[in-house]
């Protein structure tokens, strides 16, 4: 019974922590522009993150090597350092965007001035991470993130055309001109990238070691990563459906975070609106924490410094300086007034560009018998992972040209 509760809690946490600012905005915008035509990008991204997250967890458990130890091992020190710098820069930008989003949501919930909410919220978040152990951080924000289910309830309530929704499972072209086609490709890459953001796997593999998973926990790794991501992807589909039903007929392109809560208020009312805002708050706060901690994990794992979120911060000074430094720098960036959505747009596309350098080392480590013994990746998963790496490389090459051609996704 205890095991079942633990497993359910793990799945719920994975579901609650799956969605972040980039996913909320990109998928709603995609729905507002192309109705259900990009659901296939969510399915593709969902399968990819499922495969790679399972591999990350397995490598961490079997070889006791989290992602950046693997990156150093597989890419060598030079390319490894470049990947580390790029990944941490990406974490910094994402963290700044998520902190900015926290301030917006707090203002919408309470009416407090956004600047005050940003500074107080950023400092409070830092204090929470300082005080709490890994599992508490993960569970608190993950479970609070379950409030996002209200978006799925709203989508269901608005009675979508399920035949059209199912039609979106197959890639189709938007054929209203070349601009529409590039915009369609940009959003396909954006959705795919938002689902595969690197910090998620950095955090997940570090978490497997923080929580002292052993070989016995490998089935739990598979169940949690698969179920959590399937449910999280369904939630992401609900966001896209809401964009298609509420925004598309009104010619709205949701370019403000606050606008993304309107589709919940419209059919369900005030209480649902508050729940939606709490859900968004949990998602962005969770992502802010994960990106800050990931920066610390990455540096320490790459250089072999001691890291552990379950001991006093003073016992692991380099780790503590790395994550607090990231949080403080991100707060400074957010205070300058840069819009969170501008930052998140950039971080998603930039994240796509460096993605192959994170996922290739994981793939090769997980299939290496010398490292993994009898727990090497099976043939089917290995073949699928190579196919998805190919897709990741193509998307990485296309990301920046598409961003330039569409002026960062402007309709």
């Amino acid at each position: 019974m205890k095991k079942v509760i633990q497993l359910t809690l793990g799945i719920m946490t994975a579901l609650g922590g799956f969605v972040d600012l980039g996913q909320i905005v990109f998928t709603m915008q995609a729905g507002a522009l192309f109705a259900y035509k990009l659901i296939w990008a969510i399915v593709l991204g969902g399968i990819a993150i499922m495969l790679y997250m399972e591999m990350c967890g397995r490598v961490a458990v079997v070889a006791q090597r989290p992602v950046f130890a693997v990156v150093r091992l597989r890419l060598g020190p030079r390319l490894g350092v470049a990947t580390l710098v790029a990944s941490n820069l990406l974490n910094l930008l994402t963290c700044a965007a998520e902190l900015g989003a926290i301030a917006i949501v707090v203002q919408l919930l309470t009416g407090v001035n956004e600047r005050v909410a940003l500074i107080v919220g950023g400092l409070a978040l830092g204090a929470l991470v300082w005080m709490l152990h890994f599992q508490w951080i993960e569970r608190t924000f993950g479970l609070l993130g379950l409030a996002m289910i209200v978006f799925a309830v709203a989508a269901w309530n608005l009675d979508p055309n399920w035949k059209s929704v199912a039609g979106g499972l197959l890639p189709g072209l938007a054929t209203q001109g070349s601009h529409d086609l590039t915009l369609y490709a940009y959003f396909a890459v954006g959705i795919f990238s938002a689902l595969l953001m690197e910090y998620e796997v950095h955090f997940y593999s570090s978490g497997a070691i923080e929580e002292k998973w052993t070989i016995k926990d490998l089935p739990e790794n598979t169940i949690v990563s698969v179920s959590g991501i399937v449910l999280g992807s369904l939630l992401t589909c609900a966001l896209l459906i809401l964009g298609a039903i509420v925004f598309l007929p009104r010619d709205i392109f949701p370019d403000l975070l606050s606008t993304t809560a309107l589709p919940v208020a419209l059919p369900l009312g005030t209480t649902a609106l508050k729940i939606a805002l709490i859900g968004i708050f949990a998602c962005v706060a969770s992502a802010a924490i994960e990106t800050a901690l990931s920066s610390g994990y990455n540096i320490c794992q790459f250089f072999g410094f001691k890291w552990d979120k379950n001991v006093s911060p003073l016992e692991v000074p380099r780790f503590t300086i790395s994550w607090t430094g990231t949080l403080i720098l991100a707060l400074v960036i957010a205070v300058t007034g840069i819009k969170p959505l501008t930052l998140v747009n950039f971080s998603i596309i930039f994240g796509m560009v460096i993605m192959p350098f994170t996922y290739y080392p994981i793939l090769t480590a997980a299939r290496d018998p010398a490292l993994m013994g009898e727990h090497v990746t099976g043939k089917v998963q290995d073949t699928l992972a190579w196919i998805f790496l190919g897709i990741i490389v193509i998307a990485a090459l296309a990301a920046i040209p598409l961003m330039i051609a569409t002026h960062s996704g402007q309709p």
Binding site: T259, L266, P411
Partner: protein, 112 residues
């Protein structure tokens, strides 16, 4: 060394002094779409407020973000220079941005 520093500085100065960017037909069409989108967002917010599906803090916050976004478009268009043949379109887009600001101010007053 001095050349390396002064060349980008001169370029920056040139860009800063050259006024707004030249906008073509496609960019103006995109601006117009975004202005109409903000207008529609305002209308949707008002629909939600009227049906008592929103909290006061949310409605005020959303309206103020819409106002900020509208002002940004207006500022951008005020600085812009039209490409050849797009002068009348630029004027129309500027007028649409001003109209949007007026409607959002009215919305904010109604929500207060």
């Amino acid at each position: 060394m001095r050349q390396w520093v002064s060349a980008p500085a001169a370029l920056l100065l040139l860009v800063a002094c050259s006024g707004g960017s030249v906008v073509k037909h496609e960019e103006l069409a995109s601006e117009m779409k975004q202005i109409r989108s903000l207008d529609a967002e305002g209308a949707l917010l008002w629909e939600i407020v009227l049906s008592r599906h929103s909290t006061h803090a949310f409605a005020r916050g959303e309206a103020s973000y819409l106002h900020e976004a509208a002002k940004e478009h207006q500022r951008k268009l005020a600085r812009a220079r039209a490409a050849q043949g797009a002068e009348r379109e630029l004027e129309r887009t500027r007028a649409a941005a001003l109209g949007l600001i007026e409607r959002i101010i009215a919305l904010r007053l109604q929500i207060q």
